[in-house]
Amino acid sequence: MLRLNRGTRIALAVVTLVVLGFMYIPLFVIIMNSFNSGRVAGWPIPGFSLEWWGKALVNPAVHAALLNSVIVALVATAFALLLGTLAAFALQRFRFFGQHTVNLLIVLPITLPGIVTGVALSNTFHQVLKPMGISVGYWGMIIAHATFCVVMVFNNVIARLRRMNPNLEEASMDLGAGIGQTFRLVTFPQFRSAFIAGGLLAFALSFDEIVVTIFTAPPGVETLPLWIMNQMARPNEVNQVNVVATVMILLSLIPVYFSQKASAAGDAK
């Protein structure tokens, strides 16, 4: 056991408290501001009011933005699941020339800054495809999101494939099952949970993405992050933003709860 003297222990506890304060005070300030009776966000709030909650919850622009965010994230996740899984199988099951390059290619969109991805795709959509008469519109944003979501699925699925026993698939084929049957009955059930986890991460990543969205969203279309950003330029309505932010903080408890349950189940085994 690590023996630490009293001074070191206290110092470590203080650092931990500072970090927690730094992380949670700002979130607390946002939540309190969503109940602000004043027009201007700040601290301390002058009084308590549900006015902004009432306005934000019935705001049609918020509903439209939320719907867009969900659609884009769902479709992008579906693409990412397909592409990420195919790539994971190719890289885990085969040794081939250029393997490292393919690996780099998948990781690149998340390693390079979002603004590079956003500017590059927007440049292609607007300077190259549009003059050719091809308008990508809404799909441009979905394609952009799917591109950086692939890596989330890929990482999860390939990690599981590495731990899987290949003998089971061979046994299935020996018993006469075709490739499709083997995949459906033997292979897929073994990596299903990693597949779902990767999909959830991809969805969360797409739902939260702002920089790539700024550059690829078609005119007049807002996702939830884009709506928040556009509102921040209008100080009068800024407290509605705090309501939406508070809802997002509360929603973030869901994935944390499930991942905690999953890891607790893992420990129990």
Binding site: A87, V102, L112, V119, G178, V241, S259
Partner: protein
């Protein structure tokens, strides 16, 4: 014999063909993802790089194909541009160092001092902000550091005034955004250190602090490097933080965003800067082998 007849009765041409031709199997797996990544992403990056050598007509703002190094020359010759690139690099390094400096004591506290229940709670608390949303955290930081915000309110009785919106607020905001990316791998690394190493170190007479410095720190280096790849690279490309808490502070991303419509070639040239910096950083840490942990 019976199995044989069943198999003969139900031929599986596709399965058989794919089984006989591993290259066909590989091709059928790789075609779709590679078409997407090369066709959409790499092609776009290449087009962006080509645009960086083109020119913009100053009167019509139209992009003209050609070849000029002028855009790259501007990066170095226009003092404001060069200063912005250096400032961004400095901010990214500062963010990385601050995240590392706070991650280690936090992880040691969680693993070695906190009991199992407190440790589980802390693990959740450190992970939670990861999900809270990027813009939510930026707004939160705005409310803390603004003139009539939380920081000035809580420390005004002791006469301390916050830094206001500027470089310091940008660094603090980026630390806030990316801290879990450093803290989680470091925590995982500390919890994997075998307990008997600590026993051995203390049997040999080392104090707790000396054990942390000579035993814990070297074992943490790979996870610190893995975390730093995220904190460094994500900070380099960010410009939303500078926009909302930076006052007049500009970062590389701000210049790219401002020029993307007015002067696309200059924006393209500028987006090469974070790519080069990230590649240099990855190459520098590659030798340590830490990248295999990503």
């Amino acid at each position: 014999m019976n199995t044989q007849t069943v198999l003969e009765r139900r031929p599986k041409p596709l399965s058989t063909a794919l089984y006989r031709h591993p290259k066909g199997r590989l091709a059928s797996l790789l075609t779709l993802p590679m078409t997407w990544l090369v066709g959409v992403y790499i092609l776009s990056l290449a087009l962006l790089l080509i645009t960086a050598f083109w020119t913009t007509d100053p009167f019509t703002s139209r992009v003209k194909p050609g070849f000029t190094l002028e855009n790259f020359q501007q990066l170095f010759s226009v003092p404001a541009y060069f200063a912005t690139a250096m400032r961004t690099l400095g901010i990214a390094l500062a963010v990385t160092v601050i995240c590392a400096v706070f991650s280690v004591p936090l992880a040691v506290f969680m693993v070695k001092i906190a009991g199992p229940r407190l440790r589980a709670l802390l693990a959740v608390l450190v992970t939670l902000p990861l999900w809270a949303g990027y813009l939510v955290k930026i707004i939160a930081m705005r409310l803390v550091w603004t003139e009539n915000g939380f920081f000035n309110w809580s420390l005004s009785p002791v006469g301390v005034e916050g830094p206001g919106f500027g470089v310091v607020a940008v660094i603090l905001t980026l630390v806030y955004l990316w801290f879990p990316y450093m803290a989680i791998p470091v925590y995982a690394a500390v919890s994997q250190i075998p307990a008997n190493l600590f026993d051995a170190s203390s049997d040999l007479g080392a104090s707790g602090f000396r054990t942390i410095r000579t035993v814990v720190a070297p074992l943490l280096l790979p996870s610190l490097i893995a975390g730093s790849v995220f904190t460094f690279s994500l900070s380099l490309g960010d410009y939303i933080a500078a926009m909302y808490v930076g006052g007049s502070t500009q970062m590389i991303g701000s210049i790219i965003a401002q020029n993307i419509n007015l002067n696309p070639p200059l924006a393209a040239a500028f987006s090469v800067v974070p790519i080069v910096l990230v590649v240099i950083y990855l190459a520098a840490v590659r030798r340590t082998g830490a990248l295999n942990n990503l």
